[in-house]
């Protein structure tokens, strides 16, 4: 690591966003109230959107804020509220320390992360490709509607099926 890197604002922006992401994700695991976990999830998604902005993927960052931090968080909070307040309170008292008492399960995630970090450290990845070009939303859209036309349509059918399935699973029985 050079002192040049340590002096750059890019590095420190990344470090701050990474700390926010990791701490809020850790709090998601450790916090006892599930509503707070949902809000920590929104914070983690927003920080990752900031990292996407840093990596010059502006469109992905906007979709991240809209879909993850907006829609999925709202849906999770709706599900928590609809599934009954009794479960929310009972989780606080009963077996809240269960995740601390079993050290084996903590090891699985740690093993995965350490293994990936070990792979990356020994990978000797090439430096970034020369001649950086930056894209626009219009270019991404024209790619989606020409080259990736069929996957795009399949994705829209998938979303339609998911919507119909969610409605059928949660709707009350239709009165005949």
């Amino acid at each position: 690591m050079t002192t040049d890197l340590l002096m750059s604002g890019q590095f420190w922006t990344f470090i701050i966003l990474a700390i926010v992401t990791l701490v809020s994700t850790y709090r998601m695991v450790s916090v006892s109230l599930i509503t707070h976990a949902a809000l920590f999830m929104a914070l983690s998604f927003t920080a990752v959107a900031g990292i996407f902005l840093m990596l010059q993927a502006e469109f992905v960052a906007a979709i991240q804020v809209l879909v993850y931090a907006g829609a999925i968080t709202t849906m999770v909070i709706f599900a928590i509220m609809l599934s009954g307040i009794g479960d929310i309170k009972s989780e606080r008292t009963a077996k809240v320390k269960a995740w601390k008492s079993n050290p084996f399960v903590m090891v699985v995630g740690a093993i995965f992360a350490v293994f990936m970090l070990y792979l990356y450290s020994s990978a000797n990845l090439p430096p970034e490709a020369a001649g950086q070009q930056f894209t626009t939303v219009a270019a991404i859209g024209s790619e989606l509607f020409t080259t990736y036309m069929i996957p795009f349509e399949v994705a829209s059918i998938l979303l339609l099926i998911a919507m119909v399935g969610a409605i059928i699973l949660t709707a009350k029985e239709a009165e005949s």
Partner: protein, 107 residues
């Protein structure tokens, strides 16, 4: 870009590991679904990092870079909606949200 590629890749691996840990330790079904979203988010971060460093040499490549990430987000949204609907149906029919207590198929 001054930042070495290892930093965002390491963050993505740690995010995935934390999500895996949470999904394996907690028993509340809604919380498990939240951790699956966190894991998918780590995968997206990995893809965006690689496309930022190696896949932006020409404007055509740069326009194709975020496509897979967008499809992963679509599938994640569909998965979350159906998963939460299944959890709500489970709560309505059986009155439990703990995945340990849903053991009707257990021999």
């Amino acid at each position: 870009m001054q930042l070495p590629i290892y930093y965002p890749l390491g963050l993505a691996a740690l995010l995935f590991g934390l999500g895996l840990w949470g999904a394996l330790t907690r028993t509340n079904a809604v919380r498990i679904l939240m951790f699956i979203e966190i894991m998918l988010n780590g995968v997206n971060l990995n893809l965006v990092t690689f496309s930022r460093y190696y896949w932006q040499s020409t404007p055509e490549m740069a326009a194709k870079a975020p496509i897979l990430t967008l499809f992963i987000m679509t599938v994640a949204a569909a998965e979350a909606s159906v998963g939460l609907a299944i959890i709500l149906a489970m709560v309505k029919n059986r009155g439990v949200i703990d995945v340990d207590k849903v053991n009707l198929l257990k021999g």
